[in-house]
Subunit: 340 residues, 4 copies
């Protein structure tokens, strides 16, 4: 169980690693890094090479045991940045664990096997680090997707891909990761995993999963609270729909009442699959120029940035299994006491 601190810095492009220097100025070294989480400025979809570029430039900068999680898409007011999760010698109030699943074969992506691997890895990380499920506020995962080449490789091996639509494979991969998280956190019983995969109707409010072509395993970050110490805290909840300002405001008010200030927000967003929000039609699922995940990030990003006054937030699109349909999981990290 690693005590962790959290820092975020803007980047001038997906290739910008200057935050490494800024991290040093606040007293941490490369070796302290557990995870680099970023919002990069591509389309957040299949051919988002901003994520791949960021992964390329960051991986040589961090320990081999550390993970990168780059979520593409800074639509609307969202601002490209990286968030460091760093090991801290003293208790801070937050603890974390990071790891990876084994490599997933292309035909496993988005399947029960994918979910099982995630469940097993998350559970293993919790066991090793002594994190108890009641204290977990966020399980952040980066998981692979299917490209045309992978689809063909699967077919050539006489196996069946979970879908032949590369964009849809991102959703399938996110859902499998979310189910794996829910099983590890005992939100879904292990015996229900297959049914959850088949029915696509279960969700975890702690899960935040994002797909990418830049990796073939799943990168995992677990953040939990240890509130007897330090000044860092976490609050988690879920947005009921994409305009659920009430839930966000409630947490922000609570943070204010505790005399705290927000350090980082992790939110998932999606277009309501019914095509409606509170009974009124939206057009995110019929816009063939712009994928619904881009719409959702822009809208929910606009709302949270407005409420927090901060555009360097982690809003990720595609919330299958990560909060209720049309809504999304929400985790806010904050610090008690005045701004440093």
């Amino acid at each position: 169980m690693a005590n962790v601190n959290i820092f975020k810095f803007g980047v001038s492009s997906p290739a910008d690693t200057s935050p490494m220097q800024r991290l040093k100025t606040v007293g941490y070294e490369s070796k302290d890094i557990l995870a680099v989480i970023g919002k990069s400025e591509g389309n957040g979809c299949v051919n988002d090479f901003s994520r791949t570029l960021s992964t390329h430039v960051w991986e040589p900068q961090i320990p081999e045991s550390a993970v990168t999680i780059f979520s593409g898409g800074t639509e609307g007011v969202l601002s490209p940045h990286v968030t460091f999760i760093v090991h801290d010698p003293k208790p801070t109030g937050l603890v974390a664990a990071v790891g990876r699943t084994r490599l997933l074969a292309p035909h496993e992506i988005g399947t029960s096997e994918h979910a099982l691997q995630v469940a097993s890895s998350v559970r293993g990380l919790m066991d090793q680090s002594g994190i108890r499920k009641e204290h977990v506020h966020l399980v952040l995962i980066k998981c692979p997707l299917l490209t045309s080449s992978k689809v063909e490789a699967i077919k050539a091996a006489f196996k069946t891909p979970v879908t032949t639509d590369t964009y849809e494979s991102m959703a399938k991969s996110r859902y499998a990761s979310a189910v794996g998280i829910a099983v590890a956190l005992q939100e879904i019983e292990e015996g229900q995993l297959e049914a959850a995969m088949r029915n696509e109707d279960r969700w975890s409010s702690k899960a935040s999963c994002s797909s990418g072509a830049e990796l073939e395993d799943c990168h995992i970050l677990i953040i939990a609270s240890d509130p007897s110490f330090g000044s860092l805290r976490a609050a988690s909840a879920f947005m009921k729909d994409a305009i659920d300002a009430r839930t966000i405001i409630k947490i922000l008010d609570q943070i204010k009442n505790e005399g705290g200030h927000v350090v980082q927000v992790f939110a998932k967003a999606e277009a309501d699959p019914t095509g409606k929000i509170r009974g009124t039609r939206h057009t995110m699922n019929t816009d063939s120029d712009l994928h619904s995940t881009r719409h959702a990030r822009a809208a929910v990003g606009g709302l949270i940035a407005g409420l927090t006054g901060d555009t360097q937030i982690y809003v990720s699109g595609g919330a299958e299994g990560q909060g209720p349909p049309g809504g999304g999981s929400l985790c806010i990290l904050y610090e008690l006491g005045g701004l440093a």
Copy 2:
């Protein structure tokens, strides 16, 4: 000076005129309509044929003196709908006037002559209807843009288009309209019109302008308050930037304190031209897949929909001269007393 009432209804497509029937059920006829204002579900840019389609189906349904103002783009959570401004026999608290400029020749679009025509028409409408500038809360304008054909026609006539970039012509047209409004409302002195056009640095917080290929004149709607009567009220302000939740919340709180409820919101949104919001980089101006007006509508739409709990709101992209750079004009119509 026409006393007006306001109603809004969802549409199932840009061709849906069923709100006409719903208007009748609340007691108004086609002849009562002063304006049909809509958010239609196209890209809101040059080739947005959802606007043209809506205009085509609505114009035969309304009096010749009435105007249509369709703003394309329901990115994110925004919901396609139409808002009717209807004449009411009794005082309601709101008054309105509608009209048109003369047809603008292609080479006039976005120029000082365009601004002058708007100024003159807005002033004329105010004079005729006895609306005083102090009472104006919103001047909504739909104005033309340049297509490839129009650019060529201008060149063939040995004249110079304001720009040869069709998307940019939308911004030039909006700015000229906004300057015209500001002159009519005496926010800019008439003698300063040329300078305002040249420097592109002036703005009106009452102006809301939107460009389209579906018309060749400017359609104008002026909404003013007459608060000695009735239960309808207007509040106007401007967002300082695209995440200015504070200004919106302040008005919403005031409405709540008056015991009112929101009927409709008219907001302009834009990508901050400096590439930054509160000092932090955004990517709306470097995204070559998605025009900045689409980004801005999605983000500001997400914020206002979250704060009002309503997705059938009028959020329009491209706020040149309509509120401060990076921000936008804001007008909220509301009704005192409980919901009908």
Copy 3:
């Protein structure tokens, strides 16, 4: 069996019906029109309102028995235009028949029932008009798609949509139409229809199908040759892949040898589903900014326009069941003798 002539004219926008006047100048009346076929300038996908707009303005101009077939998407060099199929009192060398299926319920779109209805309607039209399958060169169909609202309506009725992805529903609808055509032309045995629908592996080189939100039945146009008379001729073939210039050049050479000139080209285009063309990777299926049908129209449109020197051609994207995978059906109408 109607003898037909064919004319095409450019349009200045999807709302432009001025070709009606031009048709009159060449001696035909509205009552002579069997079909108006157009390329309109939208995205050719789910939310293409240019098609709906064109349908709206054209339907009042033509006989009730006539059909409209608007295919969206004039990517690259393609030029928006309409093609008239008009009844001619004297034999021309070409004959045609037009009709409609019954309305398809949303849950039927893209299913075997859809294919059966098309098969039955095409067969009925051939029987009534005495067109024999050996003479058919083209069966052009406009068929419906699923929107978010239709998907919800299906679910509310406890039925299952063929897909919940609105863009994918276009492909499913095209394929069902193509299978129906193939059955009617006895390219697929009737008993094989179900298997063809299940395996998605059959195709007709005479089929050209395009989906749209603007209709709920299928519009059908059959073009056949009657070469004992007149000077109009048809040639049909299929492109083996999206760069199959050889097949096109072969037909063009034959036309030249016969002393003819091209009147119109009808081609289907698609991204090879394997992600490769002649063994080399393409990126149309992994581009999340631009749907593969748009890519394919642009590329094949560029090739055919280059070879014919004409950009007012009918190139339609999404060739499921319409020519071999990655290729597409091809029909060229031409006239013997010098240019009129």
Copy 4:
């Protein structure tokens, strides 16, 4: 004057450097590389990080004196690949020279100073390597563009950017590079450079320029013929418009007649700025969902791939000053004798 050979290989992603191994199998080492030219699979516009990623992975693989030139955008049938220009100990029939301009300050991009620097560098390279202008077939340049940050930096220094529209800055940069090439090749007199920059009406049929955010100087590659030796040859011409198949076929026929086969094609493509091709309207300049350079690459790529049967070709969008308006420069490298 370096004798050069040319090889091309497909890539599986913008991060794929496996062609390095393939180059070795044909007998060349990293130290032999003069230039790596690639088509990468981004949008080819301002935020194309596929180019940046390719540059990142390739630059450590090649000599410091070598240059990378990555052109984004493999729309339609185009296939991502890299082309190596390698030094050959013996005469091949082709010679080349590579170099760079000095870094351009942001305010210089797209200006006369930019053109002058290119002219001077191209001339210097020709002088040093003994290449005579009559033998030059292609000058390929990668040049910088303006981002939001660069625009702000320029304004902060009280200087004026050539444009504030980041996408338009790409065109301005390409044009300045093309004028520089034309001056160096004496297609434009040096005294006419300022006028050429002002009037934007001059062009070179040897210039092929592409802009990107991934560099701040201009990378230059000159290819010339030395036909007394070897079996490699070059042919250059220009396409008169985007459907000018005749010019391409003429060169391909000549190559066939000489018993040669095509090794690589370098073509520039653009949307005709008049909005018409051979008098007929196109929609590339009014499509706000898809920039005209993407349209043009897809269409011209489809044509050339069809005519050559090869999709691994270099077709680049935005031909300002590189061939006549609406057309583009064209250079085909070929080898005499049978395929190796």
